[in-house]
Symmetry: C2
Subunit: 124 residues, 2 copies
């Protein structure tokens, strides 16, 4: 697939909004570089670029909570992506379906935990 | 409202995903600095920071297509926002409801135009 139209930023990244196709829930925002976007298209599951670890990662590689890609859109400026997925399990490493579980100004998550992070990612 | 928990990047910005509360459609992704986020909270309509024009802008200031804020969420890393809004008219300057109207690899928008951009923003 031709990815030439996508405008990656000075760091070679583009923000990708991940939305659960069935429920419409916005699950997370992560960054893709050209390689992870190509890999996402090629494999049909989401791959991102980790800015803290400086490497590609596949969503669900540890937890098994993979995101199966249904459609990928880009915006009118071609500098952000919307990836519609089928979410296996839950998107957030905290165990909630979406990473957006806290209202601005509040610190407590208002969403139910669908799994126990300690069990999935191991204890500290 | 206390915004201290939000992690703005090195440029003082945080990406904000704007979602239409009623339909669940992801409308756009734009950037907020602390001032525009505070103004959004204060006024109840979305304000962003334009990286190209280096100034705050209110969504709909030209078109009248304002976004009334229903709820603001932040993610588990506190470095991105999800703003649920009621969209007046259409979000995209191209006239479509969402800015994400093109599939990756395609150039033609697949969404209906809800207004004529020339009439709203003036001719070239």
């Amino acid at each position: 697939m031709n990815l030439d139209g996508i405008k990656f930023d000075v760091n070679g990244l583009v923000p990708a909004v991940i939305q659960d196709e069935k429920t419409g829930a916005v699950l997370m925002l992560a960054y893709m570089n050209r390689e992870s976007l190509a890999k996402t298209v090629e494999t049909g599951v989401t791959w991102f670029y980790s800015r803290s670890r400086n490497r590609l990662w596949q969503k669900g590689e540890t937890s098994g909570h993979v995101q199966t890609v249904r459609n990928i859109y880009y915006d009118c400026d071609a500098d952000s992506l919307l990836v519609k997925v089928e979410q296996t399990g839950a998107a957030c490493h905290e165990g909630t379906f979406s990473c957006f579980s806290r209202k601005l100004g509040e610190t407590k998550s208002e969403a139910a935990k669908l799994f126990d992070p300690e069990k999935v990612y191991g204890g500290s």
